[in-house]
Each structure stands twice: as C-alpha cells, then as structure tokens.
C-alpha cells in the first residue's frame, strides 16, 4: 500500500531525519521525497510503501502525529488513492 506523508510547519534542524527514522524503525520504505522551504515554512511530501511494515496505517498516523505535535509540525498520512482518483482520469 502506497501512502502520502505530508509535513508542514516551521523549519528547524532534523525534521527529515526524525520522520525518516520513524519510517525506518517501522519498516516503511521511502519511494520519493519532495521538500522545500517557503517563507520559512517547511513543506515536504513523501511517497512511501508500507506493505512490509510492522505496524498498521492508523498506528503510523498516530506516531507521526504525536511526534509532529511535539515540535509544531502538522504531519498527515493518507492512502495515495485519494490523490490518484482526484487528479487522474
């Protein structure tokens, strides 16, 4: 199952490391990363594969949400299909 992870918030050192670590710990593979800084705000979109993951989607959502809240980041994890259906005929 492919997921889209979006991270938005104030930039600081170590955001990518923090998120990647959590994904690696849970055997979630990163397929694609797109990241930039707009007006001091950190924006990142990751496409990840969690077929072999040790945890369920909802658990991953909760872990990332909690971690994000600690450092003022909004982290969303969504099934990729919502974007596929909306933007592809």
């Amino acid at each position: 199952m492919k997921l889209v992870v979006t991270i938005v918030g104030k930039d600081r050192v170590g955001i990518i490391a923090m998120v990647s670590n959590i994904l690696a710990e849970n055997n979630v593979n990163i397929l694609n990363i797109n990241q930039n800084i707009m007006e001091g705000f950190f924006n990142m979109v990751m496409i990840v594969e969690m077929t072999d993951s040790k945890i369920k989607l909802q658990e991953l959502q909760n872990i990332l949400k909690e971690k994000g809240n600690e450092i003022n980041l909004d982290i969303k994890v969504q099934h990729q299909d919502i974007f596929n259906v909306m933007h592809n005929v």
Binding site: V4, T6, L57, K76, H79, N84, H87
Partner: protein, 453 residues
C-alpha cells in the same frame, strides 16, 4: 503519477475549503419484516437494522482516517414505513418510529430516514396511518426523518394529501414547540421523490432498490467557490468549465469512498449523489458561489440564472467521475444550513418568492425555511402545491421543508444547531388566503408530458 501540486491542492480543498463527504447512507429493505403484531414488527426491524448497519460507523471512520477525507455523517434509509408496516393491525406507527430511533442510536448513526409514504396517486390504509402518526413520531424521536411524496410527473398531484400535509406540518411544529419546532426540520414533502437519495430528511430506501445498498452524498461548495475566486473576470463558458472540473474532482473522491465502503461492508454500491450540500460553517455556502459569480447578494436579479449554470455544470462534471449517479444531484439551497443564504435573508435580498423561482433550477426545493407560527395551514399547503407543480411540470424533484415556528414573528430567528443551522423568520409576503383553493381536494391530473409512451 501524482505531483506535489496535486497533493497540496487536494489537502487544501480538505483543510481550507471544507471538502468533505457529507454522508455514507446504507439503504436497507424492511419488506421481509412485515408482521400483523406491531411489537413483533418493531423487533424485526430493530434486529435487521442493527445487524445490517453494525459496522457502518466504524467503516466510515476507518475510511475517513485512511484517506484523510472527513465523512461527516453515517446514515441509514429504510423502506417507506407505510409499506413495511402495512400488515400491522394498529392505528398508529409511532412505536415504529421509536424502534427506528432506538436502532439508529444503537448503531451510532446520525440520522435514519424512511418514516415515509408515497401517495402521489392515492392513499392506502398504511399511508393514512403513517401520515397521521408523523407529528407524534417526530416529537417522540430524535433522529428519525420523515417524508411524504405527494406528486409526480407520471401521476399528478394528490391535493387531498397537500391539504393534509399543511395541517400535519402545523401539528408537528406545535408538538415540538419547546425545541424551536425542530420536528418540521425532519419532515419533507416531495414531488418526484427519488428512491435512492442518501440525503436527509428525504432519504428512504425505494421499493425498486436492492436488499441493501450503500450510497454516498458528496459536498464541497467551498471548493467550487475557491476555484471561481481564481477566475474573477472570466466569461460564463469558463465559469462553467471550472465548475465542471471541480465537480469532477469532488465526485471522484465520493466514488472512492463509496467503492471502499461497499467493499468493506459487503453491500452493493448504489449511487453517488452529486449534490453540493452546504453547511452553516463559513466557507461552505452555495449562496457564496452565486455571489462569487458577480451578484452583490444572493437573491438579486440574476440569481436564478447563476444557480441554473451551477446546477447544470455540477452534474456535467460529476457524471463522468462516477459509475452510477442518482439521488438528487445538483445544488441544494437550504436556507438555514447555508451561511450565505442566512445573510441574504437577513439583509432582505432573498425572499420566499425568489427562493421559489430558484427551485425551478436547483436540485430540490424550498428547504429549511422558517416562517411565522401563525401562517395558516392552508397557506403552507398552497406553498407545497406550488412546489409540487413546479416538480410535476418540469419533470424534476421538488420538495418543501418549512418550519412554522410557534410564537415566532418577523425579526426573530430560530437555531436548530448542528448541520441544520439557524434561520431568520422569513415573511410570507402574500397575506391573501388560499383556503378555498386547498379545500377543494382531489387530484391535479398528470401533465401532458407524462404521456411519453
């Protein structure tokens, strides 16, 4: 391949423009629950509903969290109770409404619809009992919705029922007067009611439907308005194109949710209802779309044309996005549920009479309109007759959901809370009587356009 812009656009629609799926509605046939003993019948329907919809709420919540799209309501619609309960030896169906309410609360859904009768051509005994039971049924339940279809293009208009519904609406208001006459907010009178509508208060599981179906009602007026903000000076061809593209995107999400819900519940997919359903929240208004097209305030001359374009473009855009489209599908104009409509009424630009014109081109009809409690039953019946006639002649669904609030006057307002919103009391401009007209009764014959064979 999806791009980062696609992802940002979708998430902005959800967070900033309030894109949501309004409802997943499970339709359940109650035709196999019939029993002469009403207590046994109530047990039968309670068991069937609680068993069939046991996982509906959980499934909705799972889909919501996996895809990150809010699913506001989970609902159930059932076979019109006038049909399902007809075998019961009884003179009231109030206990049936109470059983529906109890079953709905047990499975945790937001509304259950189908306390309904289809009487466009005439009454059966069950229809008579049902309609007489409506005021008490709506007063003694919380989330049961009721509807009566009293007209159609094929059958004409049952004017006996039109007369009766004026009185039933008044009585319902009276019995729920301590709660701002909220009973009337859960009661809708139809012409050409579809049997696959997932939206309340008019949802019921039509007699030609399968044993169970899952249907989805989308929403998203905020998304359409936002899209139009980017093309301020464009002509109407471009406005229509933009609405079509947006409606396509919104409907694709609805289709995805419907497919997933159907698969996970093991219940066949019914239809997607393409309706743009507003909420009282800021940024979720159909009136604001019309104003974005260039009207200073909803209700100004041009409003009907703007709504016609919107309603048509929504359908054209949504059609290709779903394998089965049905229900009401268009733009709703419920006054109390739409912040822009409420403002327009308050500033005096939107009247009951203009709303009637708008119902010729919107997806349904006069919806969530609060009037003075003193408006006579015959006037309410006559408003219903006008709407039913618009539906009958134009081969479209029309409806009336009107709330004559006891004790309230022009200048007052009522607050129903939640999705039902709040509404200033709207004046009925004509003070002249329709009493003798409504007293005639009988049937308005089916129009010439019903003879299509």
């Amino acid at each position: 391949m999806i791009t980062i812009n696609d992802i940002i656009e979708t998430n902005r629609m959800i967070t900033e423009n309030k894109l949501d799926v309004r409802t997943i509605t499970m339709g359940i046939s109650l035709r196999d629950c019939a029993h002469p003993n009403i207590e046994q019948f109530c047990r039968n329907i309670y068991d069937k509903i609680t068993k069939s919809a046991e996982f509906l709420v959980k499934t909705g919540e799972d889909i919501e969290s996996e895809y990150g799209i809010p699913i506001i309501h989970k609902r159930v619609s059932v076979t019109p109770i006038a049909i399902a309960a007809e075998a019961c030896k009884t003179d009231t169906y109030v206990p049936v409404a109470e059983a529906l309410d109890k079953a709905a609360k047990e499975v945790g859904i937001n509304f259950i619809g189908g306390f309904s009768a289809l009487v466009e051509k005439g009454y059966t005994n069950g229809d008579r009992i049902l309609i007489k039971s409506i005021p008490q049924a709506l007063a003694s339940t919380d989330i049961v919705c009721s509807s009566v279809n009293l007209g159609s293009t094929k059958a004409g208009i049952n004017m006996d029922c039109v007369r009766e519904m004026g009185e039933i609406i008044k009585r319902t208001a009276e019995l729920t007067r301590d709660r701002e006459a909220i009973g009337c907010a859960k009661l809708v009178v139809f012409s050409n009611a579809p049997g696959d509508n997932p939206f309340m208060a008019g949802a019921f599981h039509g007699v030609s439907e399968a044993e169970k179906v899952v249907s989805v009602g989308v929403s998203g007026p905020g998304v359409v308005k936002h899209a139009l903000e980017d093309i301020k000076s464009a002509d109407f061809s471009e406005v229509a194109e933009t609405i079509k593209k947006t409606a396509y995107k919104i409907t694709r999400v609805g289709q995805l949710v419907a497919r997933e819900a159907s698969q996970r519940l093991g219940v066949p997919f019914g239809i997607i209802d393409l309706s743009l359903a507003p909420t009282p929240a800021v940024g979720d208004s159909v009136a604001h779309i019309l104003e974005e097209m260039g009207l200073e305030s909803c209700g100004a001359p041009g409003t009907t044309a703007a709504l016609a374009l919107l309603n048509d473009a929504v359908k054209k855009g949504g059609l290709m996005a779903s394998s089965h489209v049905g229900g009401l599908s268009g733009a709703f104009i419920p006054v109390s549920e739409d912040a822009g409509m409420i403002n327009a009424v308050e500033r005096g630009s939107l009247s009951l009479e203009k709303l009637e014109a708008m119902t010729c081109v919107c997806s349904v009809g006069l919806d969530m309109i609060a009037v003075e409690g003193e408006v006579p039953a015959a006037t309410i019946s006559a408003i219903i007759a006008d709407e039913a006639a618009i539906g009958m002649i134009n081969n479209k669904t029309t409806a009336v959901r009107i709330i004559p609030v006891p004790g309230k006057k022009i200048g007052d307002s009522v607050n129903f809370g939640g999705l039902l919103g709040r509404c200033p009391i709207i004046p009925v401009k004509s003070q002249y009587s329709s009493e003798a007209f409504i007293a005639r009764g009988g049937r308005i014959p089916a129009p010439i356009r019903s003879l299509t064979n």
